[in-house]
C-alpha cells in the first residue's frame, strides 16, 4: 500500500474510535453503560443494528460468493422484513415495558431462573464462538497485503475494540457504528464505480450485466424446493424468517441495540429501516462480486487468489502444466466473451445461443483448472477442502483499485469488523454481568461495582474473542460458517421466546426441557443429516414448542393454549 493509503486507513480508524468515545461521555452508571440511558434516536440504532450484522465477513466473503456461485445468497435475506414486522408487533413493546437489560432477563419474569440461565448460557456459547470469527476476517486482509501473521492483526483489532467498548459502553459502540456504516456505504459505492470503470472500453455496463448473467452470476432467485440447497426462495422466506426472528429477537447483540431506544416507536423505526434497507444493500454487495467476475473475464486473475497457497503449489512439479492449461483456458474464455457480446449486438439468436454454449463451456474449463490447482494445494501439504473464496475481492482491491481508495476499502473492512465485534463483546459482557453475575454471585452491590464488573466483563470477552479467532482458518467460507454456528443455537432460543409470547399456559420446567430437547435434535441434524443449516432454526424452534407443550399436558397442566 502507498503512504496515502496508510494515511486514509489509520485516519479513518482513529476518527471512528475518537468520535465513538466523544459521544459516549457520561457513561458512568450501569444503565448508561449498558443501555445508553435509553436515549438513542432511531437512526443511530438502525445503523448500529446494520453495522453489528454486517461484519467484514459480509464484504470479504459475500463478494467472493457471488464471484463463484452468483447472487443466490441474496435470498437468504428475504425472510428479514417478515421477521422485523413480527418483532415490531410483539417483542419490541414487551421488552420495553418489562424494562429489562437483556432479553433473557424477561424469561425469568415469564418462566423461572433456570430457563433464563440456560438461555443465557446458550447465547454465551453461540456468540462467544462467532466473536472469534468476526475478528479473524480482517486478519486475512492484512496477512494478504502485508504478510503479517494473522495473530498480530487479530490482537491489534481486538485491543482497539476492547478499549472503546470498555470505556464508552453501548453508547460508544452505537455512535461508532453510525460512522462506520457511513464509511462502509462510501467504500462500497467507490468499489462498484471503480470496477465498472476498469472494464475494457468495448464493454458497456449492460454488456457486463449480460456476460455476468450468461455465466449464471446474476441468478438472484431460484424457485425450486430442495432441503439440502442453502439458498432458494423457500429456504430464504421460511428458514430466513426463523433465523432472523432468532437473531433480532433472541440474540442480545441485536436486542441490546434497540433496547437503547428512547421509546417503543424509536425502536420499531430502527427495525423497519433494516427491513427496508437490508436486501438492497446485500444485493449491491453481491453485485460488486458479479462485476469483479466480469472484470476478470478480460484481465487474467491468478489461478488461486490466496498468495500463500499459490506460492505453495508453485514449488510442485505439476504447477507448470496447471499454469499453462489455465492461461489457455483464460484466453479461450476471453475470446468467447468478446464473441458472445458481438453475437448479442448482432441480434442473431442462433449465433448467440452457440456463443453462450461456448462461453459457458470455457467457464467450466476455467473452473476445472482451478479445481486442479486447489487439489494441488492439498497434495503439497495444504489444508483439505481448500477454498480461496474469501481472497477474491481483496485480491482485486489491492491489485487494481487506485491509490487512496485501497486504504478506504481496507478501512471499510476494519470498520465493519470493529462494529460487529464491539456489538458482540458488549452484549456478551451484558449477559455475563446481568444474567449471571448480578443474578447468582453478587445480588446486592453498588451501581459503581456493577459498572466496573461490566467493564471487566468486556475486557474478558474481548480477550476471549482474540484467543478463539485462531480457529477461523479451519471453517471454510466465513459468511456461511458464521450463519451455521448461529443456526445451531438460535432455534432453541426462538422456541423458548415463542413459548413465552404465545403459549401462556406453559411453565418454566416445560420450557427448560423443551430447550434442551431442541438443542439435542439440532445437533443430531448437524452431525447425522445433510439438511441445510437454515432449516435448523425451524426444526429447533418446533421441537422446543412441541416438547414443552407435551410436558405441560403430560404433567396435568392443561392450561397451555395459544394466546
Amino acid at each position: 500500500m502507498s503512504t496515502l493509503d496508510w494515511i486514509v486507513l489509520f485516519g479513518t480508524l482513529a476518527s471512528i474510535v475518537t468520535y465513538g468515545l466523544y459521544r459516549s461521555r457520561g457513561s458512568n452508571t450501569v444503565d448508561r453503560f449498558l443501555l445508553a440511558g435509553k436515549t438513542m434516536p432511531w437512526y443511530a440504532m438502525a445503523l448500529s443494528i446494520m453495522a453489528t450484522q454486517a461484519s467484514a465477513v459480509t464484504f470479504i466473503s459475500t463478494t467472493g460468493q457471488s464471484y463463484v456461485d452468483g447472487m443466490r445468497f441474496v435470498q437468504f435475506y428475504f425472510g428479514l422484513p417478515i421477521a422485523m414486522v413480527i418483532l415490531c408487533a410483539t417483542v419490541v413493546p414487551v421488552f420495553h415495558r418489562a424494562k429489562v437489560f437483556t432479553a433473557y432477563e424477561y424469561l425469568e419474569q415469564r418462566f423461572d431462573s433456570k430457563t433464563r440461565a440456560l438461555a443465557s448460557v446458550i447465547f454465551l456459547c453461540q456468540r462467544g464462538l462467532s466473536a472469534g470469527l468476526t475478528l479473524y476476517a480482517p486478519a486475512i486482509v492484512l496477512s494478504a497485503i502485508l504478510g503479517w501473521p494473522d495473530r498480530v492483526t487479530i490482537a491489534l483489532m481486538g485491543l482497539t475494540v476492547i478499549m472503546y467498548t470498555s470505556l464508552g459502553g453501548v453508547k460508544a459502540v452505537t455512535w461508532s457504528d453510525v460512522q462506520q456504516m457511513c464509511i462502509i456505504f462510501l467504500g462500497l459505492v467507490a468499489s462498484l464505480v471503480t470496477v465498472i470503470v476498469l472494464l475494457p472500453h468495448s464493454i458497456s455496463f449492460p454488456d457486463a450485466m449480460y456476460l455476468a448473467g450468461a455465466a449464471g452470476r446474476l441468478n438472484a432467485v431460484t424457485t425450486h424446493f430442495d432441503w439440502n440447497d442453502r439458498f432458494t426462495l423457500w429456504s430464504g422466506l421460511i428458514g430466513g424468517t426463523f433465523l432472523f426472528l432468532s437473531y433480532f429477537g433472541c440474540d442480545q447483540s441485536q436486542v441490546q441495540r434497540y433496547l437503547t431506544g428512547s421509546s417503543i416507536e424509536q425502536s420499531r423505526l430502527s427495525l423497519i429501516f433494516n427491513a427496508v434497507a437490508k436486501i438492497p444493500m446485500q444485493f449491491f454487495i453481491l453485485f460488486i462480486g458479479a462485476m469483479v467476475f466480469v472484470f476478470y473475464l478480460f484481465v487474467q486473475p491468478p489461478v488461486l487468489f490466496e498468495q500463500a497457497a499459490l506460492s505453495r503449489i508453485q514449488t510442485s512439479g505439476d504447477y507448470g502444466a496447471v499454469n499453462d492449461q489455465y492461461a489457455r483456458a483464460f484466453e479461450q474464455r476471453k475470446q468467447a466473451a468478446f464473441q458472445l457480446i458481438e453475437a448479442h449486438h448482432a441480434h442473431d439468436s442462433a449465433l448467440e445461443s452457440r456463443q453462450i454454449a461456448e462461453y459457458r463451456s470455457a467457464q467450466r474449463a476455467i473452473d476445472n483448472v482451478r479445481d486442479r490447482a486447489a487439489k494441488l494445494v492439498e497434495t503439497t501439504g495444504g489444508e483439505r477442502g481448500f477454498s480461496d473464496t474469501n481472497y477474491i475481492f481483496l485480491s482485486f482491491v489491492t491489485r487494481y483499485l487506485p491509490v487512496g481508495l485501497v486504504g478506504l476499502v481496507i478501512a471499510v473492512m476494519f470498520a465493519a469488523t470493529m462494529s460487529a465485534s464491539a456489538g458482540e463483546i458488549n452484549s456478551l459482557a451484558t449477559v455475563s454481568m446481568i444474567d449471571l453475575y448480578r443474578r447468582y454471585f453478587r445480588k446486592e452491590a453498588s451501581d459503581h461495582h456493577y459498572l466496573m464488573a461490566s467493564r471487566w466483563a468486556t475486557i474478558f470477552w474481548g480477550a476471549y474473542a482474540i484467543a478463539s479467532a485462531g480457529f477461523g482458518r479451519k471453517l471454510g467460507s466465513l459468511i456461511v460458517a458464521v450463519n451455521v454456528l448461529g443456526s445451531l443455537f438460535y432455534g432453541s432460543l426462538l422456541g423458548v421466546f415463542g413459548l413465552a409470547f404465545f403459549f401462556r399456559g406453559v411453565r418454566g420446567t416445560a420450557a427448560f426441557w423443551g430447550m434442551l430437547a431442541g438443542e439435542a435434535v439440532v445437533f443430531w441434524a448437524f452431525f447425522f443429516t445433510g439438511i441445510s443449516f437454515l432449516w435448523y432454526n425451524v426444526i429447533g424452534c418446533a421441537v422446543v414448542i412441541a416438547t414443552a407443550l407435551s410436558i405441560t399436558y403430560a404433567t396435568g397442566n392443561s392450561q397451555a393454549h395459544v394466546n
Partner: protein, 44 residues
C-alpha cells in the same frame, strides 16, 4: 413489573398506524422478490 400503560404505544410518523406500516413493508418485500425474479429471468 410495570403495567402496560407505563410506556405508551406511539403512532408511527407516517401511514397513521403500525399495522399499515407493517403491510407496506410486506408489499415492499413482494415487490423486491418480483424485481429480483425478473432480473434473474431477464439476464440468465
Amino acid at each position: 413489573m410495570p403495567g402496560p400503560r407505563d410506556i405508551p404505544d406511539e403512532p408511527p410518523p407516517f401511514l397513521g398506524t403500525w399495522p399499515r406500516v407493517y403491510l407496506a413493508v410486506l408489499i415492499y418485500l413482494g415487490l423486491i422478490i418480483a424485481i429480483c425474479y425478473g432480473f434473474t429471468r431477464a439476464l440468465e
